[in-house]
Amino acid sequence: MRASSHAVPPPAVSEHRHRYRLYQVIAAIFAMVVGALILAQPTSADAAMLGPGYERHGQATSHLGGYLDPDGSVSYCINAGAPSAIGGVTTDAGLSDQVNGLSPAAMLRLNVVLSRHGNTAENNTAAAVAMAVWSIAGNADYQAEGGDAFVLGRAPVSERAAILALANDFRAEAAAYIAPVGSAMMTLSIDPGDDSLGLLDLTTTPASASGTITLTNAVFADSNSPTRTGVPTGAKLAIRGTPPSAEPYRVSAVGDFTAAGGPSANVHLYTTPGAQTLTASGTSAPLVFSAAARDEADRLVPRLTTVAQPTGIVGRTVIDTASAINVPSAGMQLTWAGYLQPNDVASPTCTAQTLVYSSTKPLTITSDGDYPSEEFPVTEATVGTIHWVETARVRGSVVAQGMCGAASETSVLFPAPPHLPVVSG
């Protein structure tokens, strides 16, 4: 906006008060208009109006502050010395990442000032934003017009120092602004007493970030789900491994996080034919970032192999011996079940209907080794082939189990042998 080209005496005090009330009224109206425009669909082309700020002698062409755009936003002049947009038809020209040939860094500084301070109804703030915008968007022209000293002449004397201080703050803030970068660190730890357990720790920057974490080969212990949303920084989540096979495995995790970001290097433009371009705040980009973690060591899966007592006879007992490896030191429970099938059955059936032996209580073990089952009595009712299925559980969950029909896990039970008569010799 073009600055005044002629000398203007300082305004009288009464005039200043009168204008001050007028500005208060205008500010109230501005607030109502902004609210109404938010609720109502704005027109795509309309006249811009004076917004918060000051005018020398009430002249709209010597305004220091913002303008109310047709869509209700507060915009500012970016072409020092260009004709005022007041009275023309202003059109929303949309977002632009290029104004006045500014560099991306300058565009970012411009949007920092506009997005952080531009949408205001406060006169001094609006005046300071206008000064900062001029100096960033076209400093050469701005200085040629007289710079801060010249435009401050449009503000009341009593406000000029404050306005200048604010403008300097805004410019310094914009110059110092560094676009935020998000990051997250996830770590997976293995419970020393049980490889299937562990913790996932999350730390994010910024701390306000949260996100979704997805586990591979594990679930979150409290939900049994491999995915959790809304995980905040500082979370310590218990996990439980879900081994894909009997082989050692590792748990991995990936997380996608978001946080409030900062201004982007763009601004919103409003153009008025024959007048200068107005600019308002551009967009704000959220922070989106990812992180991943993986076990640093293999998690070992408990394994069971067994050797059943090959034969038994009625009146005696039969046992099945389990060899357990990778037993968690926190403890694992073993149980045995024996299913009776006729001899020479090709495909044995291990169901409740064929169950004849089952452990009366689990055997808790805490280290690798060979563990015999309890001694099961052989009776006439159990004559045949016993197919053993041993089961290892940790905290009630099955972590290893034998297979019905495995070759080494059968006991053939016979009737008691007859007494053979002893002849006299």
Binding site: P415, P418, H419, L420, P421, V422, V423, S424, G425
Partner: protein, 286 residues
């Protein structure tokens, strides 16, 4: 005596004689022809209808197995048979009167195999069979007891006949064992027999009731051939409690009076016996 009185006496005598003749005639008409293989003499027919035992009554009978002593069984001496049989289910064994059930023959023997039943006499619906049990212990019977027993069963219980084409004849005096087919001695072996203190029973016919290997009796190669015979002189010549059983078995020392009553055989002899059918008769003579 007057002539009238003489006539009356003669008439009465004639009536009595006629009734007596009629009775004899009827009695002769009811006598059955002698059955095959009845060396123990003619058997007496009982015309009363047979009434099967109830299952509980049958189950309550003592089993006529190798170690049983059942007084109601009848002694059996020499005998012959042409076939051995099995039975489909447990059956009662009757005493000589064929009315009194005294024992039970189990369908399966101690090995779980079909019990071998050898009839040595038949009488219409009845057969007299040799049994594996004793009827008395020598110690309770004046120092001697029958080595073989028999009893009567219903003949229709016999199934699955196996012809007995050969028999075993043991001569105590000659200390030999022969395998005989009809009148032909096919094989003869020198064998070991009982000592004078534990003699092998004589003048008796038993049968091979079972055969089995038993390492506990040092018989891991050649099966013990268990006969139905028992020591007639001692309850248990070798101790134990199995009934003083007379076996036919392999022994390295298989000649002379060396056993506790058993017939000890060399390997070729035991192999020959092992080839015979169960049920084959074993006759021991002096």
């Amino acid at each position: 005596m007057t002539a009238r009185r003489i006539v009356l006496v003669v008439a009465a005598a004639a009536v009595v004689a006629g009734l007596l003749a009629l009775t004899i005639a009827l009695s002769q008409g009811e006598t059955s022809p002698p059955p095959r293989n009845h060396p123990n003499g003619p058997v007496e027919h009982r015309a009363e209808p047979y009434r099967p035992l109830t299952a509980p009554a049958l189950a309550a009978l003592p089993e006529a197995r190798y170690d049983a002593v059942i007084a109601g069984l009848v002694p059996s001496a020499l005998g012959s048979a042409d076939a051995a049989y099995s039975i489909a289910a447990d059956i009662p064994v009757y005493a000589a009167d064929r009315k009194t059930a005294v024992a039970r023959l189990a369908a399966k023997n101690f090995l779980g195999e079909p019990t071998v039943v050898v009839p040595v006499a038949r009488d219409r619906d009845w057969a007299r069979v040799l049994t594996p049990a004793r009827r008395a212990l020598p110690s309770a019977n004046g120092g001697t007891a029958p080595a073989q027993t028999a009893g009567w069963i219903r003949i229709d219980a016999l199934i699955d006949p196996v012809p007995l084409t050969r028999r075993i004849e043991v001569s105590i005096a000659a200390q030999t064992m022969s395998i005989v087919a009809g009148d032909t001695i096919e094989q003869r072996f020198r064998v070991g027999i009982g000592t004078p203190d534990a003699p092998t029973p004589q003048h008796v016919t038993g049968y091979l009731q079972a055969r089995y290997l038993d390492a506990a009796q040092n018989q891991s190669t050649h099966p013990v051939q268990l006969t139905s015979l028992h020591s007639s002189a001692s309850d248990e010549p070798l101790g134990g409690g199995d009934g003083g059983l007379i076996g036919v078995h392999y022994e390295r020392t298989a000649t002379g009076a060396v056993s506790h009553g058993c017939i000890r055989l060399p390997s070729e002899a035991i192999e020959a016996v092992n080839a015979l059918s169960l049920g084959t008769l074993v006759t021991i003579t002096s």
